[in-house]
C-alpha cells in the first residue's frame, strides 16, 4: 500500500530525500590532533587549528579517509580516486573559521545503494547520491546566561560523513527503514556508532509533495532532526502542511525549516534565507585527495560481512525466514550472538530461542547483550539438550529461567534438579498403566470413539512423571495401550 496524503482535491504523493550527518569514529579530528571523545569539559578537546587561530594549517587524518572509503564500499558505492576539499562560507558564532571545510563538486564517494527491509520481509532499493567528508561545527549553549550564548568548540572539526540519498523515499515508514538500515551498516563497518542521542547521527529532511505521476514539487529542508521518530513526524507534518498550502492555491517556498520536538511541527528559519549563498571554492590550504588503488583494495579486504549478505546466508544456509533473518542481522552484536548459539546446533531452534525467550528476558530485565547472565555458549548448551532429547522443550523453559537467575550451565541445572527427560519406556509405561487403572471410565470413553481424550491422558502422564517424560514417547505408548 502506497502512502498518500488525502486532500480535498484527491491524493498526494510524498517525496523524501535524507541527508544524514554521521560522526566518523576516529580518535582525533579531521584536520587536527585534538580528541573527539564525547563529554569533555568545554573547550578541552580543542587545538589552535579547531579554534581557527591565524596561521594554523589543516592536516588530513588518514584514518578518517579510510573510514570514508570503507563506508563507501559498504554502501556499494563508487569510490572517487580523486576528491577535493572546499570551503563553505557562512557566519555563525560556533564556526570560528567563518567557513566549514567540506567537499562539494568532487566528493570522496559517489552513487551507491541501500536495501530497505520493510514490513513482512519485503525489500526495496534506495539510491545514495553521494557521500562526502566535512568538519562539524561547535556547540552553542543558550540557556546559561540571560544575554550571552556560550560556545564550546569540542565538536568543532570532528569529522562527519554526509550521506545524501536520492529522492527515492515515499513514506515515513520508508524513511525510518532507511535510517535504521544505514545505521546498521555503519555500525557493522565500525565507521559511526550511530548514537542519535549524543548527536553522532542527525538528518536533514527534504520533503515535497505532488499528485502521483506529476513532476517533482518544490521542497523544504528541515535541519538537524536527531531521532528516527522525529524524522517521521517531520515528514508527516511537513507533507500535510504543504498539501494544505497547495490546495488553498498557494505556493511552497523553498526554505530551511526547524523541527520542534515539543509539538511535532516544523517552522521556518528566516535568518537562514540569505545564508544559502555559500560561495564554495577549493580550500587553498589543502591539496586534492588522491587515493592509491592498492590502499582502496587493502581497505576492501577489511570489510566485514554486512547485514544484507548475512541475512542472505541465514536464509540459505540456516533455512530461516526472511523476517527472522532480518531481525537477527539488524544488530551486529546480536547477529554474532546468534551465530555462536547456532554453532553446531539446530539453527532454526536456535533462532526461536534467541528471538523468543532470550531477547524476551533481555528486554524484560533491561540489560544490554554484553551484560546478559546467560552466554551464547550456555544457550547453545541448552539447545543441545533439547535436541538430543535430554530434556523436553517445556522443561527447557524452566531450565532457562534458572540459568538466567544463576548463570549456571544447562546440564548442571538438569543434573542438580533431576530434570532429565525420561526416555526409558519402563517408567512411562508404569505411569500409563496406573492412570488407566485409576480411570476406567475415561478409557472406555476413548475406546468408544472420544479420541480427543488422548490429550487428557497425555496431560495426566506428564503430570505423573513431573513433566520429564518424553512427549513423543508418551503419545506413542498411550496410543498403543489405549488401543488395547
Amino acid at each position: 500500500m502506497s502512502y498518500r496524503i488525502k486532500g480535498n482535491t484527491g491524493e498526494w504523493e510524498v517525496v523524501i530525500g535524507l541527508e544524514v550527518h554521521a560522526q566518523v569514529i576516529s580518535k582525533s579530528k579531521l584536520f587536527s590532533g585534538a580528541a573527539t571523545k564525547f563529554g569533555a569539559d568545554p573547550n578541552h578537546h580543542v587545538s589552535l587549528v579547531d579554534a581557527a587561530m591565524p596561521g594554523m594549517l589543516p592536516v588530513l587524518n588518514k584514518e578518517v579517509v579510510e573510514q570514508g572509503v570503507r563506508t563507501g564500499l559498504g554502501l556499494r558505492a563508487q569510490i572517487n580516486m580523486k576528491s577535493v576539499f572546499e570551503r563553505k562560507n557562512y557566519f555563525y558564532a560556533d564556526l570560528p573559521q567563518g567557513y566549514q571545510i567540506s567537499q562539494f563538486l568532487e566528493p570522496i564517494v559517489g552513487e551507491g545503494t541501500i536495501t530497505l527491509d520493510l514490513e513482512g520481509g519485503d525489500v526495496r532499493e534506495v539510491g545514495v547520491e553521494r557521500m562526502h567528508l566535512e568538519q562539524d561545527a561547535g556547540k552553542s549553549v543558550h540557556d546559561q546566561h540571560p544575554t550571552q550564548s556560550y560556545i564550546d568548540l569540542n565538536r568543532s572539526g570532528v569529522a562527519l560523513m554526509e550521506i545524501v540519498s536520492k529522492p527515492d523515499l515515499r513514506s515515513p515508514e520508508e524513511a525510518g527503514a532507511y535510517l535504521r538500515k544505514l545505521r546498521s551498516i555503519l555500525r557493522y563497518l565500525g565507521t559511526c556508532d550511530g548514537n542519535m542521542d549524543e548527536g553522532s547521527m542527525r538528518a536533514d529532511v527534504n520533503v515535497s509533495v505532488r499528485k502521483p505521476g506529476d513532476e517533482l514539487g518544490t521542497r523544504t529542508e528541515t535541519k538537524n532532526v536527531n531521532s528516527i521518530r522525529y524524522v517521521q513526524q517531520t515528514i508527516e507534518h511537513e507533507s500535510k502542511r504543504q498539501v494544505k498550502i497547495l490546495e488553498e492555491g498557494g505556493e511552497i517556498v523553498q526554505e530551511t525549516r526547524l523541527f520542534d520536538a515539543s509539538n511535532g511541527t516544523t517552522r521556518s528559519m528566516r535568518s537562514k534565507e540569505e545564508a544559502h549563498d555559500y560561495r564554495y571554492f577549493p580550500d587553498p590550504d589543502l591539496l586534492p585527495l588522491v587515493l592509491d588503488p592498492a590502499w582502496v583494495e587493502e581497505i576492501k579486504a577489511t570489510i566485514p560481512e554486512l547485514p544484507d549478505e548475512k541475512k542472505e546466508r541465514f536464509i540459505n544456509d540456516f533455512g530461516l525466514s526472511a523476517y527472522d533473518a532480518g531481525i537477527l542481522v539488524a544488530d551486529r552484536e546480536k547477529a554474532m550472538f546468534y551465530e555462536e548459539v547456532a554453532e553446531g546446533r539446530d539453527p532454526k531452534l536456535a533462532a526461536n530461542w534467541v528471538m523468543g525467550d532470550f531477547f524476551g528476558a533481555l528486554n524484560k530485565s533491561g540489560l544490554s547483550l554484553d551484560a546478559s547472565p546467560v552466554s551464547a555458549k550456555q544457550l547453545g548448551g541448552l539447545i543441545g539438550l533439547i535436541k538430543d532429547n535430554t530434556i523436553s522443550g517445556r522443561i527447557a523453559k524452566e531450565v532457562f529461567e534458572v540459568m538466567w537467575e544463576t548463570s549456571k550451565d544447562a546440564d548442571t541445572i538438569v543434573e542438580e534438579k533431576g530434570l532429565k527427560q525420561i526416555t526409558d519406556t519402563g517408567p512411562i509405561e508404569a505411569a500409563i498403566d496406573e492412570i488407566m487403572a485409576a480411570n476406567p471410565e475415561q478409557v472406555d470413553a476413548f475406546r468408544g470413539g472420544n479420541e480427543k481424550l488422548i490429550g487428557w491422558f497425555v496431560g495426566q502422564t506428564m503430570k505423573a512423571t513431573g513433566g520429564k517424560a518424553n512427549p513423543g514417547m508418551v503419545n506413542q505408548l498411550l496410543k498403543k495401550k489405549l488401543a488395547g
Binding site: 580518535k27 590532533g33 573547550n43 578541552h44 588518514k62 546566561h145 577549493p282 591539496l287
Partner: protein, 95 residues
C-alpha cells in the same frame, strides 16, 4: 564577466564587511578591472590541460590518527573578548 554595484553590495554583506555607497561605486570599478585582467587568460587554449592545484608536484599529505593536541582551554580562550566557565561568551545568538 563583470559585476554591478548591487553584486558588490551583496558580496560585502555576505562577507560581513560594511561598504558605503561611495565605496561600492569605487569597488565596482576596481573589481571589474581585475576581472578584465583575469578574462585575458581565456584567450589561451587550455583544452586537455589539467587544472594546476599547486605549484609543487605533491599529493595531500596524511596524518596518523593520534591525539597529540588540545587540553589547553586557557590558551584557546586567551584572546576571546569574554569567556566564562571555559566557554567563549558571545552576545546571545538564538534561532
Amino acid at each position: 564577466m563583470s559585476v554591478d554595484k548591487n553584486t558588490v553590495a551583496k558580496i560585502a554583506r555576505l562577507a560581513r564587511i560594511r561598504v558605503d555607497e561611495k565605496q561600492q561605486e569605487e569597488l565596482t570599478g576596481e573589481l571589474n578591472q581585475i576581472l578584465g585582467w583575469i578574462e585575458q587568460l581565456s584567450e589561451l587554449d587550455t583544452d586537455g590541460v589539467e587544472p594546476m592545484t599547486s605549484v609543487v608536484e605533491m599529493t595531500q599529505p596524511l596524518r596518523e590518527d593520534v591525539v597529540n593536541d588540545g587540553y589547553y582551554v586557557d590558551r584557546v580562550t586567551k584572546n576571546a573578548p569574554e569567556s566564562a566557565h571555559g566557554f567563549y561568551a558571545v552576545p546571545k545568538v538564538v534561532e
